[in-house]
Amino acid sequence: MRRMIAVDLGAGPFVMFDPETTWRSSEMFEVWDDCFSVPDDLVRVRRHRSVSVTYRDIGGRLRRWERLPPDLAELMQHELDHLDGVLMIDRALDETAIRPVAERGALVDVRPRHRLSLAAIAEAAGSIAPEFRGAPVVTSETLGPQLGCRLTLAIETLNPVGCFKGRGADWFVSRQVAAGIPATLVCASAGNFGQALAYACRARGLPLVVYAAATANALKLERMRALGARVVLAGDDLDAAKEAARQWAASAGHHMVEDGREPEISEGAGTIAVELLAREPGIDAVVVPVGNGALLAGMARWLKAAAPAIRVFGVCSRGASAMEQSWRAGRVICHDRIDTIADGVAVRVPVPEALDDLRGLVDDIWLVDDTEVLVAMRQIHRHVGVVTEPSGALGIAAIAALGGASADNPLARQHVATVLTGGNLAQLSLLSHDHDAPSCG
């Protein structure tokens, strides 16, 4: 018998070859353990609350799975014990710590399911509109070395709405139609989600009303109208427009669709991770722009189940950091104002459900400022030949800000992926080097 562990966290099985524990937390916890090799018993054991492990994957790559959450840390300690010939009954705390499995209901809680369904993400990956699937995944041989890593880009700018949001919108509307839910939809959008929802509604003959801020990107407003949406301007920013949309939808009896609140939208976005992993299974880290968090949640949900050694990082604009602060605090923190050129991620009122979806899935969330974003947009254009809007360049801005090959860069020499989330740039002059004083997107 050899040292390997098969694991299935809901996104398909993977095998860990020669796993080893590299770190154990000093904090311990007690749990009721169970085992298919000891099928009649539950055993009270004490485990480290967290561990880090290394292993080789099926491709022979060394993977580092760092600081596991308690439930998975317990699982790994149990399985690693097996590899050493140790059973849970050897670790029973005392003579009362071995109980019949029939008492499970009284002793063991069932873990609540995550709001985002892995099965739905897998289904969406095969069924959303084909024009949004199979986006280019490319490795940049010049930008990566400049940033001190091997860099893979998921390019989500080359579809009918010029951004990643077509995936979630299509999946959401298809589920609405399948469920026979009343037809007229209402949303608020900075522009990209509205375009995506308009595209999906038009394909199914559904009416859509989009509320947008009076300051919204003119290009995006024009495209939403061209896709058949009725556009209403209200308020000075997205969150003000959202409140107006919510009130109108309630008064008119229509369904308000909120990006980040509807799980299907995040599940649709998660299909990017499915495609990314299928193309590049050896990725060490994924860096994802964060607006309301639906993209990050959808991708992280899949990545942490399919290949949990991959570290997942979010990136917010420093001028719209409500989600970053909320994630750190573990509660919704709203801001009074936003100040960024990255209109696609300019959230000042986080969606509670979207914030909760990130719990336990994200390794860190970083901030970048507008100057770093501008530089990143130009780098992407120069090295990859792709135009991104400011929010689409947040990932590259964050990777660049980490300092290339420096010793304290957590991504140095790693295989890093990011998503170029959108290319709906109204002001092409932002790509020019003589434009260094950003004022709008």
């Binding site: 018998m1 050899r2 040292r3 390997m4 098969a6 694991v7 299935d8 966290l9 809901g10 099985p13 095998v15 070859f17 020669d18 916890f29 007690e30 749990v31 009721w32 353990d33 169970d34 085992c35 298919f36 090799s37 000891v38 099928p39 080789r56 099926i58 022979g60 308690p70 439930d71 998975l72 317990e74 699982l75 149990h78 097996h82 590899l83 050493d84 010939g85 059973l87 009954i89 002793l107 063991v108 809680d109 069932v110 873990r111």
Partner: protein, 62 residues
């Protein structure tokens, strides 16, 4: 058509093999990959029979 990989029986308490420390895998050769496929098939079989695997449950910490 690839041959279907069969699940193997799960060793249960009392089987002396459960007490033998496993050897390092080393090179991922054809025999190792076959064992890995069988291990995966066994896990999937358990999942199909019981509706869950161990990782789907959380133990109460009291």
């Amino acid at each position: 058509m690839p041959e279907k990989v069969l699940a193997r029986p799960v060793l249960v308490k009392g089987d002396a093999r459960l007490r033998i420390p496993c050897a390092a895998v080393g090179e991922l050769d054809a025999a190792v990959l076959a064992d890995a496929a069988a291990l995966t098939a066994t896990l999937q079989s358990l999942r199909a029979r019981h509706g869950f695997g161990r990782a789907w449950r959380r133990r109460r910490s009291v």
